[in-house]
Subunit: 204 residues, 2 copies
DNA sequence: TTCATGCTTGACACTCAGTGACACGAGGGG
DNA sequence: CCCCTCGTGTCACTGAGTGTCAAGCATGAA
């Protein structure tokens, strides 16, 4: 079915849905960056995107969600990257690559991503939600590390600690990148951060 | 003034204020543990403590705040402990003591604290707020570590990374302690966690 | 004792987040 | 042409959180 469509598996309704979601995200980021998180109401965002408040909540669970979803893909990226070649590498290299793809996603659209990251880090409500996402990423990474773990030590703390250290690195890099307005090089910062934690990652 | 009072510097009004705060915390923890976080309204908590909703918000900023404030003192404890003798010890030992005092505060009132921790870790809204607190603790610890840092490397990532690793250890221990219903020994878990990160902490 | 002062509280009204219910219209298939 | 479904808007409602104001109560001075 749909023989002429460029995306055979994507129906018309799905594309329409994606369109509305993009419109809402666009309107939200625009308004939030302009007026600050607290002073913008959801009614404003919805009106600016040309839909009703009720429709906004059919796409996003909360005002925080619009912003944080924008970075949510990074979690899946990291896990996929980690799952890919973990067995062949020392943990520090595998985790370094995982963090790298997440930061690369930022650096790619650095104009847009930088403003979003700065907004998140400066807004307590957004920061809290973002940290919650990171906690899920950590669980995912830990699970992935456990999969490739030597048998007999399934209950030790290493996977969770290693995942936590990697995300600590990610967080430190993200803060520095944000504070420098994108001036500092993410790759260099990642190298610095992983130079600190590598002795612990590869000793386990 | 107040020659017979046990706390000469504490006025009557302050003690009354503390009393109301305790009453609210008590009522909140009771109700939240019983009925779950979402189904309890602030009106209920306030009524249960014998005050009005408006008064609740004069003591706590939100429903999350009542619960999370209960553990907020740990941050100051950790920083104080770290500030105390950092210069004389390797970072792993100093940070280990800092994490230890925080966990000890939990283990002391294990009955009460365990239920609060489990409530926090299982409730997304509370978990998010708790992680925000942890982020502040990390900044504090990093600042404290920077103070005792060799000159010439003020801008490197080590302090932030070291603080992050210590809190990663704290978090892992807290989760295991919570998941085991308090059965696992916090001290032993801390030792395990710090055995993982010590190579990184003391190499910097 | 009496009055002035300052702090805490309750009552009320309001905005905004978030949800449930329902009706309407467009597109797709019979 | 009809029906069925899905997305949306409207409306109404609960609950979080805040501003305002007046009343109550403690303290301290006269």
């Amino acid at each position: 079915m749909c023989p002429v469509s460029s995306r055979p598996e994507v129906t018309m309704a799905q594309r329409k849905r994606q369109l509305v979601a993009d419109e809402l995200t666009e309107a939200a980021l625009q308004l939030l960056a302009l007026k600050g998180f607290d002073t913008v109401t959801i009614d404003e965002i919805a009106a600016s995107a040309g839909v009703s408040k009720r429709t906004f909540f059919r796409y996003f669970a909360s005002k925080e969600d619009v912003v944080v979803q924008f970075l949510a893909g990074m979690g899946a990226d990291m896990r996929a990257q980690l799952a890919d070649r973990t067995a062949e590498e020392p943990p520090s290299a595998a985790l370094r690559r995982a963090v790298w793809v997440a930061m690369a996603a930022c650096a790619d659209h650095s104009d847009r991503a930088l403003r979003v990251v700065q907004l998140i880090l400066r807004t307590p409500a957004l920061h809290a939600r973002f940290l919650e996402h990171q906690a899920r990423w950590r669980d995912d990474l830990a699970e992935e590390l456990t999969r490739h773990r030597a048998p007999g030590r399934e209950d030790d703390l290493y996977p969770r600690m290693a995942a936590g250290m990697a995300l600590t690195a990610f967080d430190a890099v993200l803060h520095r990148w944000s504070d420098s307005d994108g001036a500092e090089d993410p790759a260099g910062l990642i190298d610095q951060a992983f130079a600190v934690i590598a002795p612990a990652l590869d000793a386990g």
